[in-house]
């Protein structure tokens, strides 16, 4: 029987004859090159035109009950699945939304995207995700790729990208929405939060504890407006407090725990008087905490450390990380709603600025006076 099944794979059911007597049901078969069954095959089996089959699948209400039954049975029989490309070609609509993220390895994006996808799925859309590895070149490719694939709309992370890309999207009239960032001065449709302002809030909290010597660890700022704005936010905070932002040591390094650790050591060696190190995200901050521990520095007694994003990890490390909480799931799901509305009504979505809040936890405290940091550094 196994053999027969296999053998039948090389045929295609061509016609099914139904008799009153259910037991006398014959199947006509033709030899084919064994490709997927098509609408036409279904039509043939159901003894209707391809148009009717198509209607059955897309607007079942327009078809009579008996016909629909017959067609559905044929669909079942053949295991028919519509060819997506052909459908998109003919209907000029794909019910697909594309999202392009810098990386999938970052919990931040993963969480927001998950929510984005869930909201999309509920409304019958499919999400296509691709990642760029923080490479603008690759981002441009992926955007073209998703547009070529017929994405009805696009979700992009952040503002900063070649104007040509925006021109391309504009010219093609592809609805797009930016996320994970919100800049009041920009006019692109966006659902995000104000990275700069959020960081200024956190900086105020740090300053309120009495810190005056603050170090900064950032992800690479080139082409990454989230990092840029967060650093800017710190500087604004310092400036407003009457401090010179340019004095604060800054280390830029790719996003990883290990790099955060190294950056921390670099700062503490070059500016031993530092009592607080602010990181533009939690992962770097956790790296900094680790290294602090290895160097024999107590957090927060010797040095306070802060992060940004409030990933799950922030609450798991000890001491618990002070950071900025961002409503990722809300953002994802709101973005999905706005983008779908945009796609369907060709009506620009409203720009949304979501609130973020400072999560003051254990890694931030008043600085211990007169630490002989040089001792620690051998």
């Amino acid at each position: 029987m196994q053999g027969l099944t296999w053998w039948l794979c090389n045929f295609r059911v061509c016609e099914v004859l139904f008799f009153e007597n259910q037991k006398d049901r014959r199947v006509l078969v033709t030899l084919t090159n064994n490709t997927l069954p098509t609408l036409e095959d279904v039509a043939r089996v159901a003894r209707v035109s391809t148009a009717t089959v198509s209607r059955c699948l897309n607007r079942p209400g327009q078809v009579s009950d008996s016909t629909r039954d017959r067609v559905m049975r044929a669909v079942e029989e053949l295991g028919y699945t519509p060819n997506f490309g052909a459908r998109a070609l003919a209907a000029k609509r794909t019910f697909t939304i594309g999202a392009i993220t810098p990386t999938m390895e970052n919990a931040i994006f993963a969480r927001g995207l998950q929510a984005f996808q869930e909201t999309l799925n509920e409304a019958g859309y499919t999400l296509l995700v691709s990642s760029t590895g923080y490479d603008p070149q690759r981002e441009a490719e992926q955007i073209r790729n998703l547009v070529a694939r017929g994405a009805d709309g696009l979700l992009l992370i952040g503002y900063e990208r070649d104007p040509d890309i925006y021109a391309f999207l504009e010219a093609r009239k592809v609805p797009y929405l930016l996320s994970w960032a919100h800049r009041p001065e920009e006019k692109h449709p966006a659902v995000g939060f104000n990275n700069c302002k959020s960081m200024t809030e956190l900086t105020k909290a740090v300053l309120a504890e009495g810190h005056r010597e603050i170090g900064i660890i950032s992800a690479q700022m080139e082409g990454n407006d989230r990092a840029t704005d967060r650093v800017k936010g710190i500087r604004v905070g310092l400036h407003e407090a009457g401090l010179d932002p340019q004095r604060a040591p800054l280390v830029e390094t790719p996003y990883s725990v290990e790099n955060g650790a190294n950056a921390f050591e670099e700062i503490m060696r070059s500016a031993p008087q530092t009592t607080a190190v602010m990181c533009v995200n939690d992962v770097l901050a956790v790296g900094a905490m680790n290294r602090a521990h290895d160097m024999g520095l107590d957090v927060p007694l010797d040095v306070s450390i802060t992060g940004f994003d409030d990933i799950e990890l922030a609450k798991l490390v000890k001491p618990k990380l002070t950071t900025v909480h961002v409503p990722h799931r809300l953002m994802g799901s709101l973005a999905a709603q706005q983008l779908m509305r945009f796609v369907e009504k060709t009506e620009a979505p409203q720009i949304r600025n979501l609130a973020s809040i400072v999560e003051k936890r254990e890694t931030l405290a008043k600085p211990r006076k007169n630490v002989d940091i040089d001792l620690v550094l051998r």
Copy 2:
């Protein structure tokens, strides 16, 4: 000028006349419904047939230099991007690989997939990812979806799924590869590791420390062969050591830190004599560690805890988590290679079993004798 550009969007360049004198270059334009430019538009502008344009794009060697220049200039001029659906329809080939994961929020899958994608990209393939939320129903949908989208091949996680799905893939002759698991007795093409055996190894290490009262925290095992096999691995280890596997308390709970914590408490309350808790993944283990701490239990003095996967977090928590290291990136990239070979030669890939190794770190130690655990539990 801005206005002009916008206005021009509603037209389509129809013909470009080149004169010797570069400055005298005129553009003929027609009013269109402002859709994407097509192959035909390019052909018209370049004054060649659509076949030639197609060849230019796909097999440039077959076209003379001068023609190719002209065509490429037209492509540039119009900002032409081939329509993916149409291309797939005509060529019956998409250079797209689909991957279906239970979730994107899990670092485990993210890391392996990233490597998978990188290897694919190098070879000119595009990866389409979609996630199921551990729902078999949704997985079936997504598989059909990706097949309908013309995926040349599919990457699936684990073995356990409705036989109908395998039948579907078999009948459609869609190359697929399983990953994140390897069962010697199964014949499906797979690149993964032996979850059961790996866990037995770890169990031996736990037993070697002198533990005899072992609790188990698992993700939900229904439809999840990774979890099933890991639990089985523990039981095999216990059995081989002459212990009764059925006596070990087991709590099944969805994958999350909080759930791990609750499960840990449940075990310790119902079986206070437990000296080691083995979790089927690191996230559950970290939750268990947290709750242990909250309950005033010292890890590993009062209770040892182990995980599985060796996610980044494992090295970041304190004490560091004893776990099983899995070569996720290697697995992803190997899977990509195998799958591409499968797709291209229609030749079944070899089944690969990757080595995993026990990472003995700080959460596993000899049990402290005679702990009065009841005291701790109020």
